[in-house]
Structures are given as C-alpha cells and as structure tokens.
C-alpha cells in the first residue's frame, strides 16, 4: 500500500515537472520537432518582412563533438494560421562538430505572416 502511494506521488510529481508548452511568440514556438531531434540546439530566430516578403533566420548549433546531419523544411502560414502556397520539400543540413550556423529562409508568397520550422534528425 505504502509503495503504491509513493508511486502515485512520484507520478504526480513527475507530471508537474513535464516541460510546459512553449510560450507563444518565442523561438521554441516556431520549431516543430518531428520524431527525433538530438545533438542540435535551436537558438534565437530573427523574423522580418523585407521587400514585402517574410524572412527568417534561425540560429542552429551542433552541441556535440561529432558531425550531425538534420532534415528541415519551413511551413509558411497566413494571417489565419493556415498554410499558404505549396509544401516545401525536406532539405538536408550538415553541421560539423560544435558548429553554429544560421539557416536563412524567405517565404514563397507575400501573404505569409507566420512560419513553422519542421526539423528532425535521422
């Protein structure tokens, strides 16, 4: 009985410690991890509208001491939160050990008002 109560308490405690959903408008809220994403950290994101088109630059850094490969694509969303234009294809990015880089992107349509960066590692 005692073990059961302790177990239940531990479960409740762990549930409280679960990572909260990212704050809206933060960099984490723009990144969607599809399945596995290990060894690479997403940093700050610069968002601007330049010449009428939404542009984004995403800071990525390899936090391991081995080379990493990741797949990514941008999903451009309109003001209503629904996608605009066609889906992009998945692209490959290689990051050397401890390398930090910026991933630039330009929306394919001027109607894009928001975006999501979909990432995964093999």
């Amino acid at each position: 009985m005692r073990h059961f109560i302790l177990g239940a308490l531990a479960l409740i405690f762990l549930a409280g410690c679960a990572t909260p959903p990212p704050e809206p408008g933060s960099a984490a809220s723009k990144v969607v991890v599809m399945g596995k994403f290990k060894g690479i950290a997403v940093g700050a994101i610069r968002v601007a509208r330049e010449n009428g088109f939404l542009t984004a630059k995403v800071q990525l850094s390899n936090i391991t001491s081995s080379n990493q490969m990741m797949y990514y694509r941008f999903a451009w969303l309109g003001a209503d939160g629904f996608p605009v234009g066609d889906e992009e294809t998945w692209k490959v990015l290689n990051l050397y050990a401890n390398q930090a880089t910026f991933l630039p992107a330009i929306a394919n349509l001027p109607q894009a008002a928001d975006f999501r960066l979909e990432v995964k590692t093999p």
């Binding site: 408008g25 933060s26 723009k30 700050a44 601007a48 509208r49 010449n51 009428g52």
Partner: protein, 246 residues
C-alpha cells in the same frame, strides 16, 4: 442582474462600434464685388428775342465706385465628397446648417459656427474653403487638318480641415483638387459650338470627392504612409522591422 450586465455590455460594445459623426460644409468662399456708377446729366436752355437773349446750361456728373466683400458657400461640389466619405464607412454623415445670405457671422469663423450649434450632433466638421476655381475655354488648331478642338475645362481647388467639434483639434488637413473637361472636334463650318458644361461640373465634383476621400484615408489611417518613406509601387505588404525571437 446578469441580464442587465449583459445588456449594458452590449450597449457599450455598440457605442464603441458606432462610427463618428461628421458634418460636411459646403465650400466657403469670399468674393469681391465691385460696382461702378457713372451718371452724366446735361441740360441746355437758350432763349432769344429781338431785344435780349439769355442762355443757361448745366452739366453734372456723378461717379462712384464701390466694392464690397461677399461671403457665401459654393453648394455644387459637396455631394460627391459626402458620397465618398459614406463609401469609406469610416463616418456617419450629419447635415449641418448651411450658411445663407441672412447669416450674420463670418463664414470662415468655424469655431463660432460650431459654438452656435450649426453642426448639432456632429463629432467632426469637414470644413472646406474654396481656394481657386477656374473655367478655361480654348480653341486649338489641329495640325494638318482643318479641324479645331474646343475645350471647356474647370479646375477647383479647395482647402479642407477636419475639426473636432469638442476640442477644436484639427485631425487632418489637406488641399484637394478636382479637374474636368469636355472636348469637341470642331470644323470651320460649325456655326456654334456648345460644350457640355454640366458634365464638366459633374466630373470636377467626382474628382474632388475622390481626392478628399483618398487624402482623408491617408491621414486617418488605413493607407497612411509616412512622408519619409518611399511610396509603395506594388501591392506587397509594408516592410516590418526585424524581431528577434528567443
């Protein structure tokens, strides 16, 4: 109780949504009217008989030149201004009291007119004054033909201020122009050419109304752009300053 709170809330919402009321004045103008009077009277009287003769002649001349300033409102061009304002759906229109010849005050003293209650119920007054009005009538020869083109043109320039009736704050001010013309090809056999004057007036009125609505829109929001920034040459959204998301 809840019902009442709901009703009051709804009323507040409607109150906040109601578009501000605007009164549009006719274009105020001031013209100098000159009078010139020249009266001459002369009489001559001469009598003669065998013994005497008498004669009298009189001559009088009266000359007077007087000029006075006439103030009034030009009522021809405000219809389309009102129409375009209604189309923009930013304002509700209220009819103000027109300035007539019996009115005592100065037509340009808009504050006195607001205080006198000429624009009752209006939150704003779009006060327009006529800057210049010019009819032009030209006949130009066309090269290598025996025809002429007869042109009747009218240009009207008016100065507008949108005045808050409570604070007398000028919310926007601009000069708007309306132009219109009627052209006819004329040959030397045409005896008399009548150009379509009403159509020119209508065109001018429409152009003036559109110019007023465009400039109001520019200054009150919507398509407003800062003077320093280059004009948009396409339909792309305006650039935004970069934001760093963390």
């Amino acid at each position: 109780m809840r019902l009442w709170i709901g009703i009051i809330g709804l009323l507040c919402t409607f109150g906040a949504w109601a578009a501000p009321k605007i009164a549009v004045t006719d274009l105020a103008y001031e013209a100098r009217v000159e009078e010139y009077i020249h009266a001459v009277s002369a009489s001559n009287n001469f009598q003669a008989s065998a013994y005497n003769a008498s004669g009298a002649s009189s001559y009088s001349e009266f000359e007077s030149r007087s000029s006075y300033i006439e103030q009034g409102e030009l009522r021809k061009f405000s219809g389309d201004i009102k129409g375009e304002i209604l189309k923009s759906r930013q304002f509700q229109l209220v009819q103000g009291t027109p300035y007539t010849s019996e009115a005592k005050g100065d037509v340009y003293d808009v504050i006195k007119r607001i205080k006198a209650g000429h624009f009752k119920g209006a939150d704003y007054v779009l006060f327009g004054t006529l800057s210049d009005i010019d009819f032009t009538r030209d006949i130009n020869a066309l090269d290598h033909t025996s025809s002429y083109s007869a042109v009747l043109g009218l240009s009207v320039v008016a100065d507008f201020s949108l005045i808050n009736t409570r604070t007398y704050e000028i919310t926007s001010a601009f000069t708007a122009m309306g132009e219109g013309q009627d052209t006819k090809l004329v040959s030397s056999r045409d005896v008399r050419v009548n150009l379509n004057r009403p159509r020119v007036v209508r065109e001018v009125s429409k152009a003036l109304g559109e110019d007023v609505a465009r400039q109001l829109q520019e200054q009150l929001g919507g398509g407003y752009q800062e003077p320093g920034q280059p004009a948009l040459r396409n339909n792309l959204p305006r650039d935004e300053a970069p934001k760093i998301l963390r």
